[in-house]
């Protein structure tokens, strides 16, 4: 039983950066923009968060810095794709390349440094409930923030007028524009949010999980986040589930090895990817086609024609 608690705690830690990055990208894609630069934004957040935390000894400032770094990167993307109408796919990839390079350049001064990891919060009484206590209620603040964000995004998209407008922009930007909604403004705002959360997701790696900086430390998590958005059929709750599924399988395959099970480690490493595809196919199989469609205007440039 104890091992199960520890495994679940590990899963949550592994999944949290993915939750942040994917929930942000989900909002961006619901507004009709495909931003493949998630990896670049995450890694910039990671170096910004690490550098500022190290310099100011304040996690709070570090996280703010990370969010800012991701947001600024997203703004660059937003300007290119929404104002200059550049191709979104290529621009996103360029952002990833640029972000990886820039973070490595800035990070030269920080390699070999380490910070103290952000510690868990122990909530009196609640954390002591057997099993549920340690699994759910003994984590660092960012874990709670990630879950709250998912709930917030769900509420925003489905229960607020602003969310409705955002979704409308994503489904039919011409019609939305005709009604008078500021398509570009909405998308800028969505990208701002997406960049900030991706930055925080990256900072989770460099401040909480492994408080150090090395080049490319996101190791492709931005791409996984993109996949999770698709997996979730653009629904926040499902994005949370997807992130935990992926993080979960990754952690569990390590445990399986430690327990001495006789399966080749590299086949086990394939599991998170295969399981994700399988689960997505199974879940999507029995729903009507309409529910699965991406926001109709995803990836298409908008230009006001009137």
């Amino acid at each position: 039983m104890d091992l199960l608690v520890l495994i679940l705690q590990g899963v949550i830690v592994a999944a949290t950066p993915l939750v942040f990055a994917s929930i942000g990208e989900l909002v961006v894609e619901r507004s009709g923009v495909l931003n493949l630069g998630v990896e670049g934004m995450m890694i910039l957040g990671a170096i910004a968060g690490f550098a500022v935390t190290l310099g100011t000894e304040s996690y709070f400032l570090g996280i703010i810095a990370a969010a800012l770094a991701g947001a600024v990167a997203a703004m660059l993307f937003a300007f290119l794709t929404q104002v200059l109408l550049s191709n979104q796919v290529a621009t996103g990839l360029a952002l990833t390349i640029f972000g990886l390079g820039l973070s490595a350049l800035i990070g030269q001064a920080y390699s070999g440094e380490s910070a103290t990891p952000l510690s868990k919060i122990h909530i009196p009484l609640i954390s002591d409930i057997p099993f549920i206590g340690p699994v759910l209620f003994e984590h660092d603040p960012l874990v709670y923030l990630s879950v709250i964000l998912v709930g917030g995004v769900y509420w925003f998209l489905n229960k607020t007028r602003a969310g409705l407008i955002l979704r409308a922009v994503g489904e039919n930007h011409d019609a939305a524009h005709a009604i008078g909604y500021g398509v570009i403004k909405v998308r800028f705002a969505a990208l701002l949010f997406g960049g900030a959360t991706a930055g925080i997701g990256g900072a989770y790696l460099s401040i909480v999980q492994t408080p150090l900086w090395v080049e490319d430390m996101t190791a492709g998590r931005g791409w996984i986040a993109l996949a999770i958005v698709v997996f979730s059929a653009w629904r926040p709750g499902r994005a949370l589930m997807g992130a935990y599924l992926f993080g979960g399988v990754t952690v569990i395959q390590l445990h399986v090895q430690g327990l001495g099970v006789d399966i080749d480690a590299q086949y086990l490493s394939m599991l998170p990817y295969l399981v994700t595809v399988l689960v997505m196919v199974v879940i999507s199989h029995d729903k009507t086609r309409a529910n699965l469609n991406a926001p109709a205007c995803l990836g298409r440039p908008f230009f006001a024609s009137s």
Partner: protein, 359 residues
């Protein structure tokens, strides 16, 4: 207020002018960056943009690097025009290298001019098979190909590693995870003596030519264009979306797989876990930089190859960290993509209209 209006026809002379302008802007930005890093900015720009063009060896290496980018880029362009987002060309490249390489290793004691074409066929079929999975899942289960192709990329890379550590390992290789070196009949013939530039480049040029013909003359090219612009119109057009999905994925998978076999049989000469270096992703950029047009892709492939080789040269000659290459490439891509707007849209100054509020 500045307003962008789409041009009815892409301005031809601007089409050629904008990349030049973008290069100029990148050079300007690059000069600033290198100066800020404390290095001679002019030397850096020279080494990155110009020096590779002055020497046969570096030109040949540009050909080596551009060949897979062009092949994969051409393949991807079909799908992208139709809204079929194959993000997993890297995986199809890897799987194709695996199947083509496996044939080479199986036949390692066999000579004969037919060995290499057989390998290439195996590579094409391998890439297609890997792309058939997302095609099937999309047409049967409406599963989004972005996720499937991406996830399968990781699986393919791991599969390569597993097999090279195991069944495909060189028996005389002291258990190093590398396959045997491919024998003569399984190696790509060299185009330029004393270099690594191989005939795969000719195949890439052929692909460009064929693609150009198909896209401008053949009905499939038309279908692809229409589907991309308006899926609903495509449905009215009387042809099935499924066919376009399958054919585009087969084309991009096959070409990626072929590129993988060429890479294994040419510059590398064996199967190693590090074979996939990201050509599948870079080719996406190449496809879009080339405006999804075959000739454009040909040129864009070379431009990307230039920045890689120039960037390496800068590391060697000026002791710049490898990160600078990525930053420089990113800047270059940003300016190219941003300035490209001029070719596609006209800039108008419009008087501000009073805002109409929707009810």
């Amino acid at each position: 207020m500045i307003r962008l209006e789409p041009r009815k026809e892409v301005s031809k002379h601007l089409l050629y002018l904008t990349p030049v302008m973008a290069v100029a802007v990148t050079i300007a930005l690059g000069l600033v960056m290198f100066a800020a890093l404390g290095k001679n900015p002019f030397q850096a720009i020279y080494i990155i943009f110009y020096e590779p063009l002055t020497d046969l060896f570096t030109i040949s290496e540009m050909i080596v690097k551009a060949t897979p980018l062009i092949l994969i880029g051409i393949g991807l362009s079909f799908g992208f025009r139709a809204g079929v987002w194959n993000i997993g060309a890297e995986g199809q490249f890897t799987f194709g290298a695996l199947t083509g390489g496996a044939v080479a290793l199986a036949l390692y004691q066999v000579e004969g001019f037919w060995v290499l074409p057989l390998m290439c066929l195996a590579g094409i079929l391998g890439g297609m098979a890997w792309a058939a999975i997302p095609a099937f899942l999309r047409t049967k289960f409406n599963a989004n190909e972005i996720l499937v192709t991406l996830m399968l990329t990781y699986v393919a890379v791991l599969l390569l590693s597993v097999l090279v550590h195991g069944p495909l390992k060189d028996p005389e290789g002291l258990n190093f995870p590398e396959s045997r070196l491919f024998h003569g009949a399984a190696t790509m013939p060299i185009l330029i003596a004393e270099t690594r530039a191989h005939i795969g480049f000719i195949v890439a040029l052929l692909a460009v030519a064929v693609a150009w013909v198909v896209l401008s003359r053949h009905v499939f090219g038309y279908q692809v264009k229409v589907m991309g612009q308006s899926p609903k119109a495509a449905a009215y057009g009387g042809f099935v979306e499924k066919r376009v999905v399958w054919v585009s994925l087969m084309i991009s998978g096959g070409l990626a797989g072929l590129a993988g076999t060429f890479e294994a049989a040419g510059p590398v000469g064996q199967l190693v876990p590090a074979l996939p270096v990201g050509y599948g992703f870079t080719a996406i950029i190449v496809a879009f930089l080339g405006r999804l047009n075959p000739i454009g892709i040909l040129l864009a492939g070379f431009v990307m190859a230039l920045t890689y080789i120039g960037g390496e040269g800068a590391q060697i000659s000026m002791n710049l960290p490898s990160a600078v290459t990525g930053v420089f490439q990113g800047m270059f891509l940003f300016t190219l993509l941003g300035i490209d707007v001029l070719a596609r849209y006209r800039i108008r100054m419009v008087r501000r209209q009073p805002a109409e509020k929707g009810s």
